[in-house]
């Protein structure tokens, strides 16, 4: 962890006009919940369709993807990563700083609107649990996408393949793939914390917790290893 790098990353992430792109999704989530509530949706419909279907399945992974690949990926893209790599700072600290910033930003952008939306929808207890689970999910996703951004030159597309095809398509059809799906960890953890029966998934909270830790540690380790022997190549293809 290096505070200067973390600060520079945070400024690079939020200091530009395009950081405003992170705003519409949370606002839509809250707005839709309010509209759904107003036209008489039941708490279980709101929880299943909006909070899970939109919040956990769309908002959390996509925000984490854009932020997680942005913290390091954009520097690799425009070549300024060299300035950091030539400083006498251990690569692990660089990765940890990037991971901390990515997790912080994605957790705030996804967990806060989840809680607000749940409170608007009249399920505030579930909202707290979902917000906490989203923070855990943001950490796991960030580690995963940070590793992707060091491993490949096209991290966003690979991340989209994972989010859409693996988590979106396969885990609805083949239940076994849910044990490697962050989305289902978030649901399982939120269900465990709240004890609510409005949401549910097939994997247990223990598996979810253990696998979240495994993915976070593995992603961070892989990112550090790759950054240690990172070769700065020119733009190809």
């Amino acid at each position: 962890m290096n505070l200067t790098i973390a600060w520079i990353t945070l400024r690079g992430l939020l200091g530009r006009r395009r950081s405003l792109l992170l705003l519409p999704l949370p606002l839509i989530l809250i707005g839709i919940t309010a509209v759904g509530k107003a036209i008489g949706a039941q708490p279980d419909e709101l929880a299943e369709d909006v909070l899970i279907g939109m919040g956990v399945a769309v908002l959390l992974p996509l925000v984490s993807l854009i932020v997680g690949t942005g913290v390091l990926g954009s520097e690799i893209d425009d070549g300024t990563v060299v300035h950091i790599l030539t400083k006498p700072i251990p690569r692990s600290r660089i990765i940890l700083a990037k991971l901390a910033v990515a997790t912080l930003v994605s957790a705030v952008v996804s967990a806060v609107p989840m809680y607000v939306a749940a409170a608007v929808g009249g399920v505030a207890d579930l909202g707290l649990a979902l917000a906490a689970a989203c923070a855990v999910g943001a950490l796991a996703y960030s580690a995963l996408f940070l590793a992707l951004s060091v491993v490949t030159r096209r991290p966003v597309l690979l991340g989209l393949l994972y989010v859409i095809i693996w988590e979106g398509l396969l885990s609805n059809v083949v239940a076994g793939t849910r044990s490697v799906s962050v989305q289902h960890y978030v649901i399982a953890i939120a269900q465990k914390i709240s004890g609510s029966d409005l949401i549910g998934t097939t994997i247990s909270a223990t598996v979810a917790a253990v696998m979240s830790v495994v993915i976070t540690v593995a992603g961070t380790w892989l990112a550090v290893q790759r950054l240690r022997s990172f070769s700065v190549a020119g733009e190809t293809s």
Binding site: A41, M54, V58, L62, I66, V156, L161, I165
Partner: protein, 284 residues
Amino acid sequence: MSDTSVIHDIGYQRYAGARLGRAYAVRALFEHGLRVAFGLGRSAKAKIFPWIVVGLVTLLAVIAVAVRAQTGETFLPYQELPSVASLLVLVFLAVVAPELVSRDLRNQTLPLYFSRPIKRSDYALAKFAALFTASWLLMAGPQLLLFAGSAFSTGTGAGAWAEARGMLGGWVVSALYALVFSSVSVLVASLASRRAFAAGAIVVVFMVTTPVVGLLISLGGDGNLAKLAPLASPFLLPEGVRVWLYHADSLPIGSFGPLYALVTVLLTAACTLLLLLRYRKVSL
């Protein structure tokens, strides 16, 4: 410097060949766009993502053909392939649309294009047409595969003719999906100069409405709300038109079929118009 400086004739010549003009340039832009979409003529890295998606959609068709050959049941009708594969088509567009338009913005090649005989609208429409054709091919190719598999297993000429008509219907549905999907995604991609952001934005635009429509449908029950809600989702809009055109029963839209067709036309027209307006300015 001597008093008698001379200008040497080193043989510069004017271009005297045929000038192929605007139509040729537009066609070249379209063809190039189509090749870029599938990574043809580019490195292996550029081929990975489009062909992963093509492979997955083709796999779907192969499984359907195999199931049909083994059990005789129609596992995946021609017209349902686009809706089953719609998430894959979305991934394809998220890969290809930024490749087509965002790279030109990023590398600032647009001023070069616009200093040629093509008009700005030509550029925008050629890119849109290339994206539309590519996404149509993505669905129509596997439908052709379905047809080949089924026509050979029916064996009779009349059976093959029925299959061919089924496939043509499938192609029309594919064109509907390709039209809606590509018009929205080329517009979104033309607003972002980084490919990564463009890809993310396209997925966000498509994914955000889907759970909402699900909620509205389950809230509406049998009422008009449930029949009108799919209008709001780009995934379900072409499905609604298909239900109206072919009397399918995949989506309860009641008697609002013409409205679905109208919204499809209006959405495509609006996206194309906005795209043309966007290219009146070179930079963002």
